[in-house]
């Protein structure tokens, strides 16, 4: 089974190509550069080098958010269009789950991957590996970093934090959690596209037409509109 994986949900642009027994290739960059310009050429180059034609693919897996709204949409649009037009299944995986799995497979404790969401907020969730598979303990959410670490203090095991935005929140985490907080190494900050591909491998196939990003948040205008309706 040949799987193409696509992650454009944050600054990291990741493309992976795997089959049943091996990771054939990965492309990863961590740059504040336009994903829209670079994703398709990256997919094209990787597939060409691996000798895989679009019709040879058996599944498309995409990181479905959370992250940058525009970024997530680029990857999801490409993935669902490829899935639909090639008539191959699509599956989505949480962008946070990919990050957690990329850094914490052998960690004995909880995993808190995070992306900065400005003004002290983070996108995060709590994950845990057991018997080689990852599961969510607390679901993905948008939360103030300070509130999140307070909540984690109640846990009875060490927590591994990871992600390229970790330096922005390191202080808040360490002050609240002390030794309970373990910081991933810089080489494990990038979510791995091969990890994404294997996570999505056994996920249930979704309908490409109905496939949408997980934004976590409503669009601002929508939220305000709902609020104003409530007040009426």
């Amino acid at each position: 089974m040949k799987i193409l994986s696509i992650d454009t949900s944050n600054y990291v642009l990741g493309i992976g190509l795997v089959d049943d027994t091996q990771v054939m290739g990965e492309y990863i960059s961590n740059l504040k550069k336009n994903h829209s310009v670079r994703v398709m050429p990256a997919i094209q180059t990787l597939m060409k080098e691996c000798g895989i034609k679009p019709a040879d693919l058996d599944k498309i897996v995409v990181a479905k958010g959370p992250g940058s709204y525009t970024g997530v949409r680029i990857g999801v649009t490409i993935a669902k269009t490829l899935s639909w037009t090639l008539n191959k299944p699509i599956a989505g995986v949480s962008s946070l789950e990919v990050l957690a799995a990329s850094s914490g497979r052998y960690f004995n404790g909880y995993l808190s991957p995070l992306f900065d969401a400005r003004r002290g907020q983070i996108y995060t969730g709590l994950y845990q590996f057991s018997n080689g598979s990852i599961a969510a303990v607390y679901e993905d959410q948008l939360v103030m970093a300070a509130d999140w670490v307070e909540r984690l203090r109640e846990l009875d095991a060490p927590i591994l934090f990871s992600g390229n935005d970790l330096p922005l929140h390191r202080k808040v985490i360490q002050e609240a959690l002390g030794d309970q907080a373990i910081m991933a190494e810089i080489t494990e900050y990038n979510p791995r596209p091969a990890e994404l591909a294997f996570l999505g491998r056994n996920r249930q196939d979704e309908d490409p037409h109905a496939f949408v990003p997980n934004y976590i948040r409503l669009a601002e205008a929508e939220a305000k509109w709902l609020e104003s309706k409530k007040q009426q």
Binding site: S36, P41, Q44, P54, W84, H209, P213
Partner: protein, 343 residues
Amino acid sequence: MKSEKDQLILGIETSCDETAVALVRNGREIIANVVASQIESHKRFGGVVPEIASRHHVEQVTLVLEEALKQAGTAMEEIDGIAVTEGPGLVGALLIGVNAAKALAFAHDIPLLGVHHIAGHIYANRLVKEMEFPLLSLVVSGGHTELVYMKEHGHFEVIGETRDDAAGEAYDKVARVLNMPYPGGPHIDRLAHDGQPELDLPRAWLEPGSYDFSFSGLKSAVINTVHNAEQRGEKIAPETLAASFQASVIDVLVTKTVQAAKEYKVKQVLLAGGVAANKGLRTALQEEFKKQENVELVIPPLSLCTDNAAMIAAVGSVMYEKGQRSDLTLNGNPGLEITIHND
């Protein structure tokens, strides 16, 4: 449905609040034309909200693609080129069409054609009537008011443009003063039909010989007129206001178009853009060009005036013929200039 020598272009348009896909044969014949409008969703905000538009495009894009292919009774294998709106427009919205188009072009190894949205509006006319050059196009929409001169296919020269508000923008703003729901243009057009242009509103002719436009002064004049009347305890009939406003807009548009058509000795004048749906404007142009014997006036049907993908495919068809191609680095470009493609 397609013989060997036929050319079939698939068009994709997502620059604002319509998700649209169409198939056009040989640059002129619409085989399928599907438009999923989001207007109902944006109405509650009184205008298009970019983030919400982008979200709707992601929800709709493959559904609309499938529906268009189904209506055309064709498969991707039959398609010679994929044309997509590259800009101008809302960047987040453009990116959905562009990336869907790139994925399709890659999946089936089909040439990709990045199209300028305004070129699309102009080429909507070619789906009705073959173009004869040189020609002049009056492009009027929510975001544009331009006079574009074309000496041949793919050659676009902007000879006049708005210096402030687009005509459609002025319509929407005046509609707001009259407390009309979004989008205001059609409401004003309808009201104007029932009123007389009794108010003396300004016409911005700008310096002699200029084909540029300016509507912000007119918009302010309307607002002042309403406020002054209110202060006197009077109320101007909305029909009168709408008719007077519309008369001013149309007077300037039509007069400048006629002048430019004469100066550039064009064979055709094409009306393009969403405001081309405006009845008052259509009628005034028809009246005026009845008198110009050597110039043919072409006005597309309403369904082709508003944003659609058939017009994008029509431009793509000409680009395909000329051997112009985009590559997989194609991006959404919100401020894209209309260029002379053959230079």
